[in-house]
Symmetry: C2
Subunit: 114 residues, 2 copies
């Protein structure tokens, strides 16, 4: 083995900053590839490749519109991400205190305690 799958996993698809940018941009509405590439400062083949990944994991949909191909957002796949990260919500509010507690314990370092 070498590397885990990438193209079949939403978490991996959004690990790439440019792909996240694409998704954000698509919130404003459908766009043809060329326009996306232009607005994000990437080449057309580059945009197409990222869009392919996003399409394969179901985060975008495309439809033909004459000569063009319009890409649109399908954010449903992001829901698992939101829910997974939400599962840690209680922790990022407590993290400070808990870690502080650890540190306290450490600094005081009482073998008999804890």
């Amino acid at each position: 083995m070498a590397r885990a799958a990438t193209t079949s996993d939403v978490f991996n698809a959004i690990a790439e900053p440019q792909r996240r940018d694409i998704l954000v941009l698509l919130r404003a509405g459908e766009r043809p590839v060329t326009e996306l590439a232009r607005e994000l400062g990437m080449t057309q083949p580059g945009a197409s490749k990222h869009l392919r990944v996003l399409r394969e994991v179901g985060l975008v949909r495309d439809r033909k519109a004459g000569k063009q191909r319009l890409y649109g957002l399908d954010a449903r796949g992001l829901r698992p991400v939101h829910e997974w990260s939400g599962g840690f919500e209680q922790f990022w509010n407590e993290s400070f205190d808990r870690l502080d507690a650890y540190v306290q314990d450490l600094k005081q370092a009482r073998p008999e305690e804890s």
Copy 2:
């Protein structure tokens, strides 16, 4: 160029399934490396490497405890992930017959198809 940075980005850190598993496991409390490896069915060096990535992006903290090294969760870094994905919440709740929220906004027309 070849590949974007990975070790400096939380999105990339959690793109790896095993690392997500580690984080989930750590919600139950601190653990030494060996135990994590055992519970997740990975080798000790494998666990250490994943933990290193998680540590570098700040998702876990470690503290020495005698011969052992206990890893603990620091979920604060997951908050941006939650917020970013939350920015799409309205999209996965809306009807997806209409690809274009932009159009919806401009002319409050009802979609043609369902």
